[in-house]
Symmetry: C2
Subunit: 239 residues, 2 copies
C-alpha cells in the first residue's frame, strides 16, 4: 500500500473546479527514547508527498473526507492507515481554512492524537518517517504551523488533564509518568512533589507489582479507567 498525503478519492476528484474540498489530517504524538545519551523526545510521523503540490516535502498524514464518513471517523481512518493502530487519545485540534494554504481551495480539519510508544510498530512503512517534533524540516502547506499549534495544545493540556497517561502502557512507575511530563513540558519536576500531586489526584491505582531495575524497585501503577483523560465537556458523549 502506498501512503501519500495527496490521497485521491472519487468524490473529491469529481467535484467542480471551484469547489471547496474538505481534508482531514492528524498530528500523532508519541514519545521515543533518544539513542545515545539519556533523554526522551516527542516524535510524530510524517508522510513524504509523492505528487504536487509540494512533491518531495514531508506532510501530516491525512486524506479527503468521504461523503459518508464523519470527521472523527476520517481521523481514525487516517491514523489507522499511518500507524495501523487506534490512538489512546484523539481530539479535534482546529480547522485550517486560509484561502492560500493550498493551490486549490482546501479546508483541513486537523486532529491530534496520542499513541503509546509500545504500540508503535517497529517495522518502517514506506514513505513514512518519525521526526522529533522540536526539530522539523520545512513541511508542505501550513503544516509547520499546525504542528506548532498541536504542540502548544499538548503542553497546555498536560497541565490541567491526565492525557499524559495516553503515552504510557497499562502499568508504569511514577518515574516513568514523571518522565512523560518532563519531556512534554521541557523542564525538571521534583520527584517528591510529583508523587504527591499525582497520588492525591485519584487517577492512579497502585498495583502489587514492582519494576525491578538498577536499584530499589518501584511500585507499578495502573490508570483509573473511571476518570476521563481530559474533560471535553458536552462533546465527551460524542463518538
Amino acid at each position: 500500500m502506498t501512503r501519500t498525503a495527496a490521497l485521491p478519492t472519487p468524490s473529491a476528484a469529481e467535484a467542480a473546479a471551484d469547489a471547496i474540498r474538505v481534508a482531514v489530517s492528524t498530528v500523532i504524538f508519541t514519545l521515543r527514547r533518544l539513542p545515545g545519551s539519556a533523554g526522551t523526545a516527542v516524535v510524530l510521523p510524517l508522510v513524504r508527498r509523492t505528487r504536487d503540490p509540494h512533491q518531495g516535502l514531508w506532510a501530516l498524514p491525512g486524506g479527503w473526507l468521504d461523503v459518508d464518513e464523519s470527521l472523527d471517523a476520517a481521523a481514525s481512518r487516517t491514523l489507522a492507515e499511518t500507524t495501523g493502530l487506534a490512538p489512546s487519545y484523539l481530539e479535534q485540534l482546529y480547522a485550517f481554512g486560509a484561502v492560500d494554504r493550498s493551490p486549490s481551495r482546501v479546508v483541513s480539519i486537523v486532529y491530534w492524537a496520542l499513541i503509546r510508544p509500545d504500540e508503535v510498530p517497529d517495522g518502517s512503512v514506506e514513505n513514512v518517517e518519525w521526526f522529533d517534533a522540536s526539530a522539523l524540516p520545512q513541511l508542505a502547506f501550513d503544516h509547520n504551523e499546525i504542528v506548532g499549534y498541536a504542540l502548544w495544545r499538548l503542553r497546555n493540556k498536560v497541565g490541567y488533564s491526565r492525557i499524559a497517561h495516553g503515552l504510557l502502557a497499562d502499568e508504569f512507575t511514577l518515574a516513568e509518568l514523571r518522565e512523560v511530563y518532563e519531556t512534554i513540558l521541557g523542564r525538571h519536576l521534583d520527584p517528591a512533589n510529583f508523587r504527591r500531586q499525582v497520588e492525591h489526584s485519584g487517577t492512579l491505582i497502585p498495583t502489587d507489582r514492582f519494576r525491578t531495575g538498577s536499584h530499589r524497585p518501584a511500585r507499578l501503577y495502573r490508570y483509573n479507567q473511571d476518570v476521563e483523560l481530559a474533560d471535553r465537556g458536552p462533546l465527551d458523549a460524542r463518538p
Copy 2:
C-alpha cells in the same frame, strides 16, 4: 435584506449532488439585563429558517463558505450580517461534521463571539431574535448541541482568561465586571475577594472617573489593551 440560515451561494448550488459543502456558523453571546426583577442573562441571536430543512425552526446565524474567503472572514461576515458590528472577541469553536446532521452533507465550522451589550443595535432585525441561552427552544440541525458546547467553553474560558472584558464597555466599575462573571458562572462571588484578584492581575487601569449611582460612587476602570483577552498560543498571530 432577508436573513435565513439557509444561505444560497452560487458556488454551493453548482456543487455536485454528493459533494461536501462547508458552512460557517457563529454563536454570538452578549449579556442582557432581565426586565422585571434584578438579574442578567446570557443571550444570543438566532435566525428563523425560511426554507427546508427545518423550516420555521430557529438556527444559528451562518452561511456557506465562499471560495475566496477564509474561515475567519466568513465568521466575521456572518456576524456583521446578523448584528451589523464587529465582535469584541471571536474564536473558532469546533468543526461539526456528523454525516446525518443535515439531509445533505454539510461540515460546519462554528465560531463563537462576544459583543458588548451597548453595541447591540436596539431595532430588531427581520427573522432575528435574541434568546436566553439557558432556555432555548428546539433548534434546527444539531444547533442545541453546538450552543451547549459554546456555553461550556465560555464558562470554562472565563475562569482562566480575561474574556469577560469583551462583554463590557470601555469604562466599567468592578461591580459591573463582577456581575459579568456571576452571570456567566451562575454563582455569587465575594466582592472583596473579587476586587483583589482582578486588581492584582494587572489587566485593569483605574481612571479618575467615578460612576455615581444610588450610593457611594464606584471608581471606573479601563481594560489594559496590552493584555490579550485570551492566550490562543501560536494562533494569536493570525488575524
